[in-house]
Symmetry: D2
Subunit: 127 residues, 4 copies
């Protein structure tokens, strides 16, 4: 199961080299995983569960520029008890721009103690 | 009474035109007023008072570029009961880059009800 | 003639107060005017004309939070020879969040000399 | 040889969880490597050489919050012909917040063709 979201690059996200500044990619990936979770067909906010970043590995394959439409595909590629890895691919048309793996830990809202995802949320992410 | 802070422009804050992207100026001004308040010789966090933006008027006089040192000067130019206006000037060397006035409202932390500034904080800002 | 664009607030654009950090509003307005220009039914990049910010006046009427859909409406409310004022209204549902006026100057690409907008671009913006 | 820079967290860089939003860390690391290069005792801009990100691996060990001073230490841990790896450690006081390795490729300014670093620049980075 994969999730796909298109993100249009904003003018102010492009740097003096004319390409998307590297830090914005982490913000894009964050937006994609967050949006995927919020499309959960339940009340996500009431689950008492949320995610935190533990690790992120990003590899750039080419640049993206102003007004490019970034097509971001996400997939959970590993499930642990409380953690999981989400793999991302970012493309502009057929051209690969970025691949990344983000290691998330599920935690309880508020005190941030590691906590397994609610079963329905895990199923929503394909687990 | 004025407060001065120097902000070095980061590479990623410059856009494809080679100049600081406009939205970053609001972040710089926010950092300056916030830093000014935190230099209060008391425990600012325990005052129960904080500020919110109500209005911001910005005028650009020229560009700033990567690695420029922005010298930002702030001064409270109007005191109301719960609100005040802070005027800012941003320069690179002797060249004027931006002038701005930001209208802040003092509020109680948490419920955000308008609240006069603690006298010692107001004195810290020159009022 | 007005232009309307919806912008979904990203998680990372919300600050510790749980509301959209003020500087992001300038980025949103920039994206709206830029997007409006790029919908020009011609080759905008080949006109040799672009815009620069000269002044921005923003008034906040209420907060917006994470995942809110900001509906931004833009309209040119004054035409000069080389400059124009664009007025913006930002709403979440029927609730007004921000009103703003941005004063743009049209310039030639590259040397940034003030330049009247191409007639077709001006007509595209309702002028 | 290591390079150390202190970065004060700005209020607007902290998210609704009260911690620095993850994407800002990439911006901090970028600023540190960029600043290190600009302290080169020569005219860096005239070398015709610059760097691009190829890969970034980040591991978070704990949160940082508003007004924390991030002490960032950088060191080149691998030299290739045209590329090199820079390792970073980010601390608040003695507490480790982030470790990261960024793989940079040196390129010629303008056409972005891989290019070995000028010897003096490499020496400046300890290579």
């Amino acid at each position: 199961m994969t999730y796909t979201q298109t993100i249009r690059v904003r003018y102010g996200e492009v740097d003096a080299q004319g390409v998307v500044f590297n830090a914005h990619y982490l913000a894009y990936l964050d937006d994609v995983s967050d949006t995927w979770l919020r499309t959960f067909d339940g009340n996500f906010e009431e689950t008492g569960w949320e995610i935190m970043l533990r690790r992120a590995d990003l590899t750039w394959h080419g640049p993206a520029g102003v007004h490019d439409d970034l097509v971001v595909t996400a997939e959970v590629v590993r499930w642990g008890t409380t953690s999981f890895d989400m793999a991302f691919e970012v493309r502009v048309d057929d051209r690969l721009v970025l691949t990344a793996t983000v290691y998330y830990v599920g935690v309880s809202v508020g005190d941030h103690v590691p906590m397994p995802p609610p079963q329905a949320v895990r199923a929503h992410l394909g687990g």
